[in-house]
């Protein structure tokens, strides 16, 4: 079997398996690159037909706040990308209630529809996953 044919077989085998992937976002959108590069992985994962969800907790909840202005920072404002996730069939976005409340944020200040869940529920959701990737 050629390398190319083998790679194609591997890819098919990989794609026939559906695992539950959760990407856990814990950091503010700017200040470090984790949120931006993390989102790249989320978008790629959509091509593998997996059961993908996103969790936002700690300062990660700031990633979803509406009306971000990054011009002064001279960095890209990537927050509209969260609105594009729906187009990739990534619709399970969980936000931890305690993290929102600790920062004085409300659900209506977020750029996309989300499910607000308690820390306890979030733990249960994490328990269900096959793969947890934190950024």
């Amino acid at each position: 079997m050629t390398d190319v044919a083998e790679a194609a077989v591997l890819e098919r085998e990989a794609q026939s398996v559906v695992k539950k992937f959760m990407f856990v976002n814990r950091k503010a959108p700017h200040g470090t690159i984790y949120a931006l590069e993390g989102l790249e992985v989320v978008l790629i994962s959509a091509a593998f037909d997996q059961d993908v969800s996103l969790a936002f907790l700690d300062d990660g909840v700031y990633q979803l706040v509406k009306g971000q202005q990054t011009k002064g920072l001279e960095v890209k404002n990537f927050s509209p990308t969260y609105r594009a996730l729906e187009g990739y069939d990534i619709e399970k976005l969980y936000v931890e209630r305690e993290s929102l409340e600790a920062r004085g944020l409300r659900e209506d200040q977020l750029i996309v529809p989300v499910q607000v869940v308690s820390a306890r529920e979030m733990a249960r959701l994490m328990e269900e996953q096959d793969v947890l990737i934190g950024f």
């Binding site: 591997l10 890819e11 085998e13 990989a14 398996v17 695992k19 992937f21 950091k27 690159i33 984790y34 590069e37 790249e40 992985v41 790629i44 994962s45 091509a47 593998f48 997996q50 096959d130 793969v131 947890l132 990737i133 934190g134 950024f135």
Partner: protein
């Protein structure tokens, strides 16, 4: 058990690369398989052959190369994260290869456990 690892931090600056290496060694010693180690964010700096630590320090990059040579571990550097940080084919240490993020997702699908090392 089949493991893959994700390393999100640069060497020397952060414990992640050391912890991941020790984890990989311990897993292999117990007879487990380490299929792939994926380097992302500043983790891509683990792959540069230009690294020259002081004589009395561990050589993190050479350690990875040896792990690949001895155990056939697939060391993959994210192309986009690498380009952003000047890590290209020309300065890659032995045993590493550059590829896309699909390799990380695939590692998650095909391994029993994907273990993440980072902040």
């Amino acid at each position: 058990m089949k493991f893959s690892l994700l390393i999100n931090e640069g060497p020397y600056n952060h414990q992640a690369a050391d912890s991941a290496y020790q984890f990989a060694r311990a897993a292999l010693a117990k007879g487990h398989e380490v299929k792939r180690i994926f380097f992302y964010h500043d983790g891509v700096h683990n792959a540069t052959r230009l690294t020259e630590p002081p004589q009395d320090d561990r050589h993190i990059v050479n350690r990875w190369s040896k792990l690949a040579a001895d155990h056939g571990v697939d060391l993959v550097v994210c192309v986009a994260a690498g380009l952003r940080r000047g890590l290209v084919e020309d300065n890659l240490a032995p045993g590493f290869r550059i590829s896309g993020l699909g390799q990380l997702v695939e590692a998650g699908i095909e391994s029993d456990r994907l273990v993440v090392f980072g902040d």
